[in-house]
């Protein structure tokens, strides 16, 4: 029996394309640093993402959803687990520890 894979591949391409387009459209825009005088708007002063937050997104959220908080008593244990699981560097681990225990 010959398997007909074309419809599935086509579906996959369409699905991926639509998601890629959707994510491009909804990506967070950088704050506008040059206010347009002809159309005055409230400029949202977004704080730049700090190193810990960025590292958390890049290393932890890459595989799994961030847990909704946990006891600070285990923050170092979590990071030591992730150091092996996600091959964190010592510098990143220290930054993440500061992020988890501000």
């Amino acid at each position: 029996m010959i398997m007909n894979s074309k419809p599935i591949l086509l579906l996959f391409v369409l699905f991926s394309s639509s998601i890629a387009l959707a994510q491009t459209a909804t990506q967070t825009q950088p704050p506008n640093t040059k206010p347009d005088k002809s159309h005055p708007t409230t400029v949202v002063d977004k704080k730049p993402e700090d190193a810990g937050s960025r590292l958390f997104r890049q290393n932890c959220s890459r595989c799994h959803n961030a847990p909704e908080g946990f006891s600070p008593r285990i923050s170092d244990t979590v990071l030591r687990h992730m150091t092996v699981r996600a091959s964190l560097s010592m510098r990143d681990k220290a930054e993440l520890l500061r992020f988890l225990n501000p």
């Binding site: 029996m1 398997m3 007909n4 894979s5 599935i8 591949l9 579906l11 996959f12 699905f15 991926s16 998601i19 890629a20 959707a22 994510q23 491009t24 909804t26 990506q27 967070t28 960025r54 997104r57 890049q58 890459r62 595989c63 799994h64 959803n65 847990p67 909704e68 946990f70 006891s71 600070p72 008593r73 285990i74 923050s75 170092d76 244990t77 979590v78 030591r80 687990h81 150091t83 092996v84 699981r85 996600a86 091959s87 964190l88 560097s89 010592m90 510098r91 990143d92 520890l97 225990n101």
Partner: protein, 355 residues
């Protein structure tokens, strides 16, 4: 009592006793060290209830995957994951009712010793780092689908675990890229708790954070019986602040090869990721396997197979996820539908109450 039942009960009793002893030993070793803040051993894991209807037959699977992690001093770290499940499958031959069986086992039990900022020595029973699914996506609280990919057994010696030693770490870490590595050797172990084959291999991954891009190569060589090589490659793309994920793997063994590509998306357009709509996560996975010869020794289907998985997950508050999916499997042995639903709760807590 019949003998198989007696043996099973005796085995469960032995495992339970071993686990109790291990936990007590860990508690004794770590209690003093953990009095300092942030170092308390943790209990984590997932509790789930899954159902799957394959070709009209529905199975139910309550499952518990606990994870224990305990630091011992500044350099040594012990971690282990286990699985306890009960599987309910319908009686065949038109008979009413369900048959059930249970399984308890250690997934891995390893010690990690931080030798230097770039080298961690791992010893014990560890998850084989071949591609990404086995050691990064297999926990039930992480995977977007109930079922793992078909090629998960390629390069992981079917058991998924090696028993021996491994070096791993971050070789280079810069703001624009990082390079991580794993290199391992596993010896042959026939013990029923830590079954492993004699093998060696490694993985190298390059991560470019600004583009959310990760690419990696894996290699595994079986060093017993017929020596076989396994090659793997993975590509992940997760653009920042987009909610979009693309993960893919390719694996090639001596007798078969295959790939999977998975996409997932969460929108921020309707109030962010934590809004009712933002918690929805449509997922899609395409996978194909191809036999290279007629020797079926690697866990892949005996015939060329392709599966399209369409899923819709919902990320509830309090670390709970609902996973649903419809899959259509195409193979020369027959085509059929697979419907899956499940719920998983992930917990993460200190191993004991503190001050």
């Amino acid at each position: 009592m019949d003998m198989p039942g007696f043996h099973l009960q005796f085995r469960l009793f032995t495992i339970a006793r071993s686990l109790r002893l291990s936990i007590l030993t860990l508690v004794a070793f770590t209690f003093v060290h953990s009095m300092a803040a942030q170092n308390t051993p943790l209990l984590s894991g997932g509790i789930g209830f899954f159902s799957a209807t394959t070709a009209g037959q529905t199975t139910y699977l309550p499952i518990f995957e606990p994870l224990l992690a305990a630091p011992i001093g500044p350099r040594l770290f012990i971690e282990s994951r286990a699985v306890l499940l009960e599987s309910f499958t319908p009686n065949g031959d038109g008979l009413p009712g369900y048959n059930h069986s249970h399984f308890i086992g250690l997934t891995y039990l390893q010690g990690d010793y931080t030798l230097s900022p770039h080298i961690t020595v791992v010893g014990g029973s560890y998850l084989i780092p071949f591609n990404t699914y086995n050691d990064r996506l297999s926990p039930i609280w992480i995977g977007n689908f109930q079922r793992g990919p078909l090629i998960a057994s390629l390069g992981t010696e079917s058991t998924g675990t090696g028993t021996g030693g491994m070096l791993s770490g971050s070789a280079i870490s810069r703001s624009k890229y990082s390079l991580s590595y794993n290199a391992y050797f596993s010896s042959l172990v026939n013990n029923s708790y830590f079954q492993a084959k004699r093998s060696a291999g490694g993985r190298v991954s390059l991560f470019v954070p600004n583009h959310g891009l990760e690419v990696g190569l894996s290699y595994n060589r079986l060093l017993q019986g017929v020596r076989e090589n396994f090659y793997g490659a993975h590509v992940w793309w997760e653009p920042a602040n987009s909610g979009f994920q693309l993960r893919s793997e390719f694996a090639r063994g001596h007798h078969a090869q295959g790939y999977w590509i998975e996409t997932a998306y969460r929108t921020q357009a309707f109030g962010g990721f934590d809004s009712i709509v933002g918690r929805l996560e449509p997922v899609f996975r395409m996978q194909q396997t191809f036999r290279r010869d007629n020797v079926v020794s690697d866990g892949l289907p005996p015939a060329n197979t392709q599966i399209a998985d369409f899923g819709l997950d919902y990320n509830l508050p309090h670390n709970t996820r609902i996973l649903t999916s419809y899959s259509r499997e195409f193979a020369t042995t027959g085509n059929y539908n697979i419907w899956q639903t499940g719920i998983v709760y992930r917990f993460l807590t200190p191993a004991w109450k503190g001050k």
